[in-house]
Subunit: 340 residues, 2 copies
């Protein structure tokens, strides 16, 4: 499993728009205390409002890792960023990248890291040594976010629920399965990069045995209704053995994003299918709430969408950005029966 | 996709038992015309009954590839086999391995192959460049073998059905998803070695567009009821878009092999779940027969098991080793409606 040293110096390169800085904004939103400073090249137009420190100063201020927190066009490391990476290494910082190519594939970076003894983390790459799934029931409680499609709020919902649990004094850990989540958590496994034979096994080691009243809140990926990614989703479900699932959905989205021949399922059909699949490894698995992404709706439409989802499913529905989730967390974290 | 040059020289090393020679026997059973000769080291106690030829003589007799057709203990290439591999390369043969480590990881083999210009095929390794699944419906017809568990006859059933189709004059191609199947077919993709994000995409390119009346008969893997491997199975189903599925089952097996906490499902429950999952990418997907592995049963028990499976499911049931499948193939290949 990736284990990344915090706190971070956020490297923003010279990107020209916040569109390329989603990871940086995610880190600032979800782990601001872990973000010591930002560092930008000339012409960078993104500004997180953090103090501006070069690597040596950031290291002196406590930073342990330099995170490439923006996505360059094309996804590959621009050659003119390499001197900045090398400066980070010289300052003794580990380097963390979510780009497609690996850091170690750049000889100058690999050589400098070896010489200085710093770690290179490619958070899109699966770690080595993942075992085959065992199916063994683990101790502790688990919540997994699931979705009617990709890209509609599974990470955000998991983060919000973990934070609310902690606020209520419930022992909870956010477990990351994608690159931004891994940076926020400081660890995790990019589940869609794992060889298919080992997906369930990866999900098992991601949320190990825990005290009985501890919740692991696991970031979902893909959807069982997605023609390309359902395998990832099923392995994640089976290995996670969730006691509780939160179904994420975007009201008004009628087609799987990028797959116009594939309809987004009805909430009730989705709940039935996810529960049916999840009960293979945890017969107690239940969907306990519906998280709606209502960012494109008016307040009136949002209220109506939430009401409609509750009517359709008989479950609590909410938008984790716009509405409180305190009652939701209280309802299921307090009352579900989690006997193995 | 792997594309291996036939015919083969089957290298048997010095293994001491047929237990380690399943691949060799599978090749001799399913593609005898592709097996030019066997080659053995002193002390080998396996004998396929093929002519005995060293690499130079085998190449002169037409062989194009040397296949390591046995599984050494531990799964790694024994050092004392390396001179034999090098002799194969010197004779101009491609080298084909189903072992865990790659051939190219042995420097002497990599260097010799480069010098002679022969190919090294590691059929456990996924090929590069597999795309994300598209979900696009392809032309032609597809049959996929599925199972209530692993290791109960999915490969054998697919091979037997493809052979029977060809015997009946139906255009049919066996599509391999595991190492032995890939050697038999001379190509394919080891689906469980594919990164999970790409499993459905791999299954899509494995059985491309084909004439309307052509059948691709696809070797299944894993089971939707397996706590470790269901992800592989689901991606293979979604990418295969099967019109017809044959459910493979071993009467009397009550627990998933190696997972005693997990029951083998009832046939009707399995059929319902597989059809439900497969219909995401092919709404016409149906289970059309039940293939029983009755190798541990008496003739009377076999007849009773077949009758019981037919009664339970309302579908044709058979044992592809022990009973004719001619009527089965006639029934579904002739009458199913495959309009997209």
């Amino acid at each position: 499993m990736h284990a990344i040293r915090k706190p971070y110096l956020l490297f923003l390169g010279d990107v020209g728009s916040d569109i390329f800085a989603k990871t940086a904004h995610g880190l600032k939103d979800w782990c601001p205390d872990d973000c010591v400073a930002q560092w930008r090249l000339p012409d960078c137009s993104v500004d997180l409002g953090l103090q501006e420190l070069a690597p040596q100063a950031a290291a002196a201020a406590g930073a342990r890792s330099l995170v490439i927190a923006v996505a360059p066009i094309g996804g590959a490391l621009p050659p003119h960023w390499i001197p900045a990476i090398l400066a980070g290494i010289e300052a003794g910082l580990d380097i963390v990248s979510g780009m497609h190519g690996t850091l170690a594939a750049v000889p100058a970076i690999a050589e400098a890291a070896r010489r200085k003894g710093v770690a290179l983390h490619d958070v899109r790459q699966a770690p080595a040594g993942i075992p085959i799934g065992t199916g063994r029931k683990r101790t502790g409680r688990r919540l997994l976010t699931i979705g009617t499609d990709c890209a509609l709020g599974k990470k955000y919902t998991a983060l919000a629920i973990a934070r609310e649990m902690q606020r209520q004094g419930i022992s909870a850990t956010f477990r990351a399965t994608g690159q931004t989540g891994i940076l926020i958590a400081g660890g995790g496994i990019p589940i869609d990069a794992v060889i298919s034979d080992f997906v369930a096994g990866a999900a098992e080691i991601l949320s190990p045995d825990a005290p009985t009243d501890h919740w692991d809140v696991i970031e979902g990926q893909g959807s069982l209704f997605h023609p390309a990614y359902a395998a990832v989703t099923l392995g994640l479900i089976h290995g996670s053995q969730p006691d509780a699932m939160i179904l994420c959905h975007e009201p008004g989205r009628e087609r799987i994003n990028g797959y116009p021949d594939f309809p987004v399922p009805a909430l009730t059909a989705a709940i039935r299918h996810f529960e049916n699949c999840a009960q293979l490894t945890n017969p107690a698995a239940r969907v306990v709430g519906v998280s709606l992404n209502t960012s494109r709706l008016s307040p009136e439409q949002r209220a109506e969408a939430i009401r409609a989802a509750m009517d359709e499913t008989g479950l609590p529905a909410f938008d984790p950005v716009a509405t409180s989730i305190a009652d939701l967390v209280r309802s299921f974290a307090g009352t579900l029966d989690h006997a193995a």
